[in-house]
């Protein structure tokens, strides 16, 4: 079970969270200005990297807030853990 660093509550066990997919995918301000390909890319295309991955989590059974965190998809380690030793 992962230990996930909630910026509001501190590290908490994974069962308190729901995953929110890749971070920094902002909804376009005016979707109607996008052509079909660009809109499909917004809906479906994700980077799916091997390594560092900026992703969203929601501390559902805690503060209920969404937040972004960087996790290494190979080691499952969070960037904060690396920085803090």
């Amino acid at each position: 079970m992962l230990l996930i660093p909630c910026p509001f509550c501190g590290p908490r066990p994974e069962i308190e969270f729901v995953y929110g997919g890749e971070a920094h995918i902002a909804r376009p301000a005016d979707p109607s200005a996008l052509d079909d390909a660009a809109w499909a890319a917004f809906l479906h295309t994700r980077s799916n990297p091997r390594g560092r991955h900026a992703e969203r989590w929601r501390h559902l059974h805690g503060c209920a807030r969404f937040f972004n965190v960087v996790r290494d998809t190979v080691t499952d380690r969070f960037a904060e853990h690396e920085a803090g030793g």
């Binding site: 079970m1 005016d30 979707p31 079909d36 929601r58 969404f66 499952d76």
Partner: protein, 986 residues
Amino acid sequence: MSQRFRTAAGGRIDRARPLGFSFDGRGMEGFAGDTLASALLANGVHLVGRSFKYHRPRGILAAGSEEPNALVEIDRGAGRRTPNLRATQVELHDGLVARSQNRWPSLAFDAGAVSDRLAPLLPTGFYYKTFLWPPRAWARLYEPLIRRAAGLGRAPDTADPDRYVQCYAHCDVLVIGAGPAGLAAARAAAGSGARVIVCDEGAEFGGSLLAEERARIGGVPAAEWLRDTLARLEAAPETVLLARTTAFGYYAQNMVGLIERVTDHLAAPDPALPRERLWQVRAREVIVAAGSIERPLVFPGNDRPGIMLAGAVQSYVVRYGVRPGRRAVVAAEGDSAYRAALALHAAGVEVAMVADLRDAAEGALPQMARDAGIPVRSGATIVGTAGRLRVRSVTIGFSGGRERVAADLLCMGGGWTPSLHLYSQARGRPRHDPTIGFVPRTPVPGLTCVGACRGVFGLAEMLADGAQAGAAAAMRAGFAASGESWAVEDAPSCECAPPRAPGPGSGRAFVDFQNDVTAKDLRLATREGFRSIEHVKRYTTTGMATDQGKTSNVNALGIVAQAVAAPVEAVGLTTFRPPYTPVSFGALAGVARGALFDPVRTTAIHGWAAAQGALFEDVGAWKRARCFPRAGEDMHVAVARECRTVRETVGLFDASTLGKIEVVGRDAAVFLERMYVNALANLAPGRCRYAVLLGESGFVRDDGIVGRLSADRFHVTTGTGNAALVLGLMEDYSQTEWPELQVWLTSVTEQWAVIAVQGPRAREAIAPLVEDVDLSRQALPHMSVRSCQVCGVAARLFAVSFTGEIGFEINVGADHGLAVWEQVWERVQGLGGAVYGTEAMHVLRAEKGYVIVGQETDGTVTIDDLGLGWAIGRKKQDFVGKRSLSRPDLAAAGRRQLVGLALDDASRLPEEGMQVTAAAQDRTAIGHVTSAYGSGTVGRAVVMALVADGRARMGEIVFVQMTAGAMAARVCDPVLVDPEGARLHG
């Protein structure tokens, strides 16, 4: 005489405390401190089980958790029968009842042993190639026979009466394994003040020190050093010692699963204690001191009872005071086996010969054996053994010829394999060392292997390695620590045997004892084309038994590498997976059983409904009343009556499970306008709107009623199973896309009980109970909401309908739900009305063509497919999912659209999910049935279906593919009752 094979003195058993136990009904005696295995050996019992495939007689091979043969059933009374426990780990207690497995009619005479005679017909993978004809016989004859013949223990057949608990712990340093390296590490870490947890699968801490008869540590005997170390650890305030506790799995970020066996070793456990505890330990630093496992030698007939691992024999003699035989042969591939020879000799067992497989035996230990007068012969090979239920003789080959030596005990010392299980589970990558075998290579952050499990052998080296690593781990965790060092004397150096493949001999040489895999099986697999060790493993099942190949994997690897003529490191190890040893389901389930297995949600009215004899159905986690049969009614009759009553008079319905979200704030209207397809910003306070929610991909996610209570306060309902999803979606947009909007979302599903009153006389039913609200059609039209008092309780009264009749939904605080319900019920009953359940609700809504999201939709259905396009606010620039509605596939012709189907035969009822085709014989579906109910009001089945271009097919004949054949149906409007809405607005 009892315990004929006990030594005269010595060992860690308590000779003052004899314990009675039984094995296969035969009463025997052992001592406190014994395992079942050591007690059986003390009574001269070697034959303890029959093997998995060939039913060969098997004895005790090992002294620890690696035991592949001695699996027994322990019976602790009704419902407490546990199969497949390793006799080497079962602690003896007074009255212990043990039985052998996989034999009939008896252990000594087992009818299943016929499969041993048939062995030539049962090579590896035989079930893939032998029993092919006739094809039908596989399912009926062969598979049941093979299944019956295979397998070891009997599964329990009653519920487990024991209690299991789960607990969580955090520590700075977790030490796994309390042998010399683990204890030295724990001592260093605990001395620093760090929070330390030490666990060991054994009953006693000490590991190999428990069978150490000679060495001195820091000037005192090893046993005294052990006593002193344990006393220090017990005195350390932040240190927890867990005996009988196996670290069975390593999980991400240094979380380790431990299983603590709390009561199985007690004759009369305190009933307040759980049987087992599952620990989930999060450690800053993990020190793995898992030790090593001795390898058996692979030679023909190496599986007879009385053939044991040399280290195990040493343990039985020194730790348990047992003589495992009268006349022993020791087959040594390295120096360590000589320790068993010396221990046996000292205990008065005749050691007929040490047959050293090496060309020369020159170390300190061989010399000590020679000095003790034990015959030592080098350059030996074990050619074979004889004996039916116990080894009787060993045939040993030398360059000059063969020699047959009578012996009832054969010790195998094939070298030691470092235990890489946890290191490998932590994604460490081992390397192959030619003198030791596989040892850890890549570092794992936060995890350190110490001692034998990283290939460090020798008592002094293990202690130093542990002490250094323990101090380093404590320092990394932020404590000032220093490792001690101890002088070690009288621990003769011990040349380790490198793993090597056995020569090809004649006869069956077992590699995996638990799954009955022989060297020949492995060679056959490679001849049949299997090259990858993972494939050989799966084809032959080597290493796939519950022992996970602890004693067999390295031997199997050597044989395969030799057969495919590749270096061992190129063939590689198979993957280690948790659990290290089997973990009971009870411990994994913990308290999540019975009522707590899958907690049930009930409404405030549940008890009342149950008392009325309601039948319930599960909707998500909710229990919902499905119908209320009266005396003599079946469900079908009851539902028809309930529907009729609603259409003709009035019905009462518990709608409390509806998801409810309170949306509040200055920008609440703007927020909902962006979320839902509807125009909601202009919704007047006091009015409601049916609203549809899409996902960003354009498909329908939910629908519900949005009621505006005031300028900045909305009461939004969701589908019963969708409440959490909708709230999550709303929170996502509120927090991450539009944080500038001032809006607060609160789940109020549990806070409001919802009492629905539906039918022509609904207004009349509730009128006397509602205060200060004009219920007339003009003052409170359909789709209105008022905050008011009902039965003297604060309420939100909605004029809404899910039946097509005049309808009201009274929301009151859940605590008042039952009291208000009972008063409404009195009114409804007085008017000749009835209470109805979800089944009638479904029929009534289907007659009106109302959809249920999740029934008519499946995640690929658009709002236009449902014919609900009218709900979209035409002037809206944007809402969630709007852009997707113009994507080519969502706007294309040929999409499946919601229609009604009128079946030719009014008496027939299709099932939901049945396929719809254009012609009776077609094999390609043009749609499927989404809902189907019998309807007294309509006089035939009410069927809703999604059919390609359905709305353009009105009046066409299509076919529903029923179980009994295709049934013609006419495509029709799904709204079958009151299409003008006259009843609704009446």
